[in-house]
Every structure is written in structure tokens, then in C-alpha cells.
Amino acid sequence: MSIVETSADDAKNDAEGRFHPHLLGRRTPIAIISGLATTVPAIAVIAVLLVLLSKALPAIKYNGVHFLTSTAWNPGNFYANPIVTNGVEHPILAKYGVWPLLAGTLESSIIALIFALPLSIGAAFIVAKKLPPRLRSIAGTFLELLAGIPSVIFGLWGALTLGPILSKHIYPFFAHHAPNIIFFRLFRGNTGNGEGLLTSALVLGIMVVPIIASTTRDLISAVPRLTEEGAAALGFTEWEITRKVTFPWISAGVIGATVLGFARALGETMAVAMVSGAVLGTIPHTVYSTYSTIAAAIVTQLDSALTDATGLAVETLAEAALILMAVTLLANVAARYLVKRVSSTSLPIGKGL
């Protein structure tokens, strides 16, 4: 079971030439039934969009453009009489802004990639170039295992094991020694209990490693031997070959896998909900700050939102979900555009094998 189906599109291209769809009857019952089944994902996508849009519409009207820039997350006073603004009933004082959540979503995912990308490339390089076949297979199994660990278990580990260790033994060292100058300033301050931006970004980084590493490994293995052997004959060291021959060959694919990993990290829910501190309405100002992401906010806030009798809180979560979908979709499309070789139906991180 490969983690990213790089072979999918190859197979498609190969098959296009030698496959004969007309060999099988187009009017047979199986053709009709399977045709209907194939529309299910399309119907599901449309249904998801319709439900979200219809739910979000009052919130879009009420929250306006400021939703994107405001840092408030004030559900308003549920115990006072609701009032009507712009034709939308809402609790008095209600004011929502998705910016802190969007910023938290993007920041944590970007930091996750900063961890995951070099680790994945380094590991893939060793696995593809240096390990004997047996060890290569074992390393592959570990990558599969890592991809197979559910998000909630990453969360459990992040909250109860990794977070406490970092906050007790690692973060205080950074906080103590980081100079008070730009960038490094972010490492100063209260290190908290381990829940926060850096810990959750680390966990997210570990979660996206399998996507980037396995793709990179497959891509390195697919580089034509002759090219590399030619370079070796010219007396280049392995690193030089990799840098000058292999990387240019695979870079587009690696970028695609990275963007794909980014898209997965954006939508990751449970692990972030458990390790971020799940605090709304604040933008992290140190790497230890507690925060939340759109996905984590939906899972932690939906139940309390349901107590808003005017429905605005639930509708606002739908609006946030639409923004998350838009950002994720953008990343997915970018990944597909960048590299046709990487199928977007790679396995989701933390969601199975």
C-alpha cells in the first residue's frame, strides 16, 4: 500500500493507449449502475457546498467583510433579547472575526512544513540511495505506520507526552537564551504547559512527513540511473549528484507533495484541538502562545455555538468552514497544477494507512 499513489496517473496514461473501453458494453446494467455511483462524489461535493452556503449566508450578511480582518470572537449575550441587523437576528454585541483562526491555521501549517520538508527530503535521500532493500522496506513500513496513526492519537501523545517534555526541558532553555531581537524574540516569554503553536506545529509536521517523504523517495528512485551514473563517472560526490542532477529532476514533484501536505495540515482537526490550547480570538505572539485553527475551532465550538438561539454562532462556523475549504481547495489545486505526477488522492494524514 503506497502512501501516495504516484502510479495512478502513470497507469492512466499507459492504459489510455492500450485500454479498450468499447470492449465492454456501455448500455449494460453494470455500466448504468456504476455510472450512477460515480456521480455520488460530485453530488456530495455539491451537497456540502449547498449546506455550508445556506448555513453561512446569514453569517456572511451579518459579519460582513470585517469577518476576514477582525480579531474578535464574541458570541454576544445569549441571555439578552436578540436584535436584528441587516435582516439577521443575532445576540446583542455579537462580533466575529476569523482572522486569528485563519492566521493560526496558516502559521501552524507553515511551521509544520519548515520541520517536515528538510526531514522528509533527508530521510528520503538516505532511504532511496543508501539503504539496502530490506532496510528500505522496513523504513517504508515505519512511514506507513506514521501515516496510519490516527489524528486523535497524535493529539494524545502531543498533549500528554511531547508537550509536557518540551515545556519542562526544552522551551525554558530557548526562552532563557533567545536574544531579544527580531525573530528570536518570538522564542522568549512564558512557555506555558506545552500546549501552543510550536508544539502543535511539531505534531503537524510529524503528521505530514509521510506524505512528503514517501513521494520524495519514490521520485528519487524514479530518476533515470544513466543520468546519475553519468554524473558519478565525472567524479561528482553523491551530494553533488543529488544536488545537481536528482533535485532538479524531482523538485516539481517534491513541491507538489509539500503543498499537498500543507493542505492536509490546514484541515487537521483533532491533534490541533488537543495540543493548541484551543484559545479563540488571539493571534499567537510567541511560539509558545496558545491559539486555535479553523478546523479545531469548529470541533471545539460547535456544541456551545448551538446554544445561540438566533443561530448566528453556528452559521458563523459554517462561514469559517467555507473559508477553510477555499484555502484547502486552493492548496490542492496548486499541488495538482504544480505536479501532475502527484495524485491528490493521496491518503490523508492521521486518517488511516
Partner: protein, 394 residues
């Protein structure tokens, strides 16, 4: 002032004794109670005269003979009590299956309102808007609960005194360290460390948040009351070190793992909080006295309000007057839709809730003392029973 007064005094709490004393001296509660009463269509808006005769529970206490499955969800504060009740109840009536879940009062209200569960548990009464949305929704008190404010301050011995306004400033980020002059002034005899304060609040919609923020609103009306106000979920001021936790259990665990933490925890989690080495803080009441929660303090505060409980029983018990009143107490509510579709289910809900408020069964001290709750006073039990009888099919 011992932080660990035994909670087992519950049994001594004679509900009949409550009736005589209280007479609406609290101005702070009247606004909330009256606004909620007017919301219920057809509800009696005048306050009920307390009845001294014990209500008759037997009439509604018999469940149907058919098999009925009931779902309960909501308040994590009420959850431990439900888990004491349910096994005994199912032993007595094996045809009734009851599913319980501690998901937070917000979920309890929302799910009962949406009809996805039969009984929602909540530490907060329904808002006007909720009643307007679902007019058949009832909030029925089952017991009296309280909340404790706990801290995790390394090396601190002795009970910390905190006023409502200091707690308000802590949760607004205006007081950031435990050795702040404002805290020192309240605790001249304690040696307080220079430790950052980590205020923890609930991430889920919560009745604990509701009564906690109600306390802050009443104790600090110009600060918290004007800027944040109260609710099952509020716009928490942005504090850089703040943490959130899910459920009362999460509050205890998170606070226990976080030096410098302050948290609000339902009394039913008092034992766990103590086990997690959290210290109970003495907080200021309306008379300016500092108290930790115990049976006497809860009773004293409850007495302020008993005579004012309206027919729909939506009333805040927070911050009553009196030197010995512990300021953060509340009714634990069952949120039920009175318009049921199934006659057997309606009967089963009536029977279960009646059993729960009956001092001979669910309201017995053998149950309540385990979670630090107090039984319903007789007059309130009567009002609850009247509401329970509204639960009908068709």
C-alpha cells in the same frame, strides 16, 4: 477557614428550614429572574408563595412497563450525579435504558432543543431567546450545586483569598503574577511567588462558565459586567498565557498540569481537584467576606433566593447577600421538551425526573453528598414537580 470542609453535611440540610427566612433582599438577581419569566408564554410572572407541605412524588414516579430508552447529555457537573443515579434506577426498573454523557451544558441545552436527546443537563437556565425559539422547552432544577475556584501555586501553604474584582482582573489579563500587589493586599500573611498566572477557561459551552461569569459580572459590574458579561460561552479577554479545557474534568487536569494556574471547577469535581493538588480559594461574597464552598455557605446563599423562584424556575442564585453566603451556587437543571411524541417516553421522563428530585430517592444525601450537591428545598421541589407534570405526549 479550611478549604476542605466535609461536604457530607448535605444530609443535615433540612429543606423545610429554608422556607421561613429569605425575603428578596437581592437586587442583583431580580433582573435575570424577571426577564426569564416573562419569556415563557403563559408562565406565572409573579413569584410563587412557597409551600411548606412536601409535594407528592408517588403519583408520577411509576415508569411505563414498556421498554424505553432515554438519552441524557450535557453538564459535566451534573454528569457524576447522573452516573450515581442511573445504575440504581436501572436496577429498580430494568425496562428503562438510560444513556448519559458529559458534554457540557451548552450541548445539553442545544441537543434537548434540537430534539437529539431526551434530557439535557445544564448548570444554566434557558435564555429568553431559547424559550422563544422552542416555547415547550422546560428547565427543571434537580439539585443545588456550587463552584469552587482552584489554584495551582507552587509552594503556597494556607488558603488564598481572592476578591471577585481581582479574579475579574486576572481573567482580563490585568493582573499577571501571583505576587501582584492587589493579591498581596488581600493575603498579607501569605508568601506569594513571582509566578505567572495562567487563567484557564472552558472551551466548550458550559454552565460553569455561565455561573462563573455571572459572579464576575456581579462582583465587578463596571469591569467584567460592562465589558464581557455572562453566558455559557463568552468573549474571553485576550490573555497571552490563557488556556482552555474541555469539561470540568479537563479543567482539573489542565490546572493540575500547569503551575500558576487558576480555574473554576464544579463542586462535583472537588475530590478530583484535591487529588490533583489544587488548592481551593476563598472568594469574596456580596458582604465582602471570603469563603470556600461548604454545605452551610451554599445553604445560606440559597436561602436568599428560595422565595423568589418563579414558576419556570429560571433564576440565578449567584452572589446573594449575607455574611455566610457562598457566592457561586446554582440549580442543576434538566432541560426537557414538554411536548413529547411518545406517551411511554413522556411517562418515563416524568418518572425518572420525579425519582431524581424525591428526597427518598435521587435527592437523598447518600447520592448528593458524594458530589457535594444540596437537595432541593421543598418549595422548589414542588415547582419542579409541577413542571415535570407538563411533560406529556401529543
Amino acid at each position: 477557614m479550611s478549604p476542605k470542609k466535609p461536604l457530607a453535611l448535605a444530609g443535615l440540610f433540612l429543606s423545610a428550614g429554608l422556607v421561613a427566612s429569605a425575603c428578596g433582599s437581592s437586587t442583583s438577581s431580580s433582573s435575570t429572574s424577571s426577564s426569564s419569566t416573562t419569556a415563557t408564554t403563559g408562565a406565572v410572572t409573579t413569584t410563587q408563595a412557597p409551600t411548606t407541605t412536601a409535594p407528592s412524588f408517588a403519583a408520577t414516579e411509576t415508569p411505563p412497563t414498556a421498554s424505553v430508552a432515554l438519552q441524557e447529555t450535557g453538564s459535566t457537573l451534573l454528569y457524576p450525579l447522573f452516573n450515581l443515579w442511573v445504575p440504581d434506577y436501572q436496577k429498580a426498573y430494568s425496562n428503562i435504558t438510560i444513556t448519559t454523557a458529559g458534554t457540557g451544558s451548552g450541548t445539553g441545552i442545544a441537543d434537548a432543543s434540537a430534539g437529539t436527546v431526551d434530557i439535557g443537563a445544564s448548570d444554566a437556565y434557558l435564555s429568553q431567546a431559547q424559550v422563544a425559539k422552542t416555547p415547550t422547552l422546560l428547565n427543571i432544577p434537580l439539585a443545588i450545586s456550587a463552584q469552587e475556584i482552584v489554584t495551582n501555586i507552587t509552594g503556597l501553604t494556607g488558603t488564598l483569598d481572592l476578591s471577585g474584582s481581582v479574579i475579574s482582573q486576572i481573567y482580563q489579563g490585568k493582573i499577571g503574577f501571583w505576587d501582584d500587589p492587589a493579591i498581596k493586599a488581600l493575603n498579607p500573611s501569605l508568601t506569594l511567588p513571582h509566578l505567572a498566572i495562567v487563567p484557564v477557561h472552558r472551551s466548550d459551552g458550559s454552565g460553569d462558565t455561565f455561573i462563573f461569569t455571572q459572579y464576575l459580572s456581579k462582583a465587578d459590574p463596571s469591569g467584567w459586567g460592562a465589558n464581557v458579561s455572562f453566558g455559557t460561552t463568552v468573549a474571553w479577554p485576550s490573555v497571552s498565557s490563557a488556556l482552555t479545557a474541555n469539561g470540568n474534568g479537563g479543567m482539573v487536569t489542565t490546572c493540575g498540569a500547569t503551575p500558576g494556574c487558576i480555574a473554576y471547577v464544579g463542586i462535583s469535581f472537588a475530590q478530583q481537584a484535591t487529588a490533583a493538588k489544587l488548592a481551593v480559594t476563598a472568594i469574596s461574597n456580596a458582604a465582602g467576606k471570603f469563603l470556600t464552598p461548604d454545605a452551610a455557605g451554599i445553604q445560606a446563599d440559597a436561602q436568599n433566593f428560595i422565595s423568589q423562584v418563579p414558576a419556570n424556575e429560571a433564576i440565578s442564585l449567584v452572589y446573594g447577600p449575607g455574611d455566610s453566603s457562598y457566592p457561586i451556587i446554582n440549580f442543576e437543571y434538566a432541560i426537557v421538551n414538554s411536548a413529547q411524541t411518545d406517551a411511554n417516553k413522556a411517562q418515563a421522563i416524568r418518572a425518572l425526573l420525579t425519582w431524581a428530585i424525591d428526597p427518598a430517592h435521587g435527592n437523598a444525601s447518600s447520592y448528593l453528598s458524594q458530589v457535594g450537591f444540596q437537595p432541593l428545598p421543598t418549595s422548589v421541589a414542588g415547582l419542579s414537580l409541577a413542571q415535570i407534570n407538563k411533560i406529556q405526549a401529543g
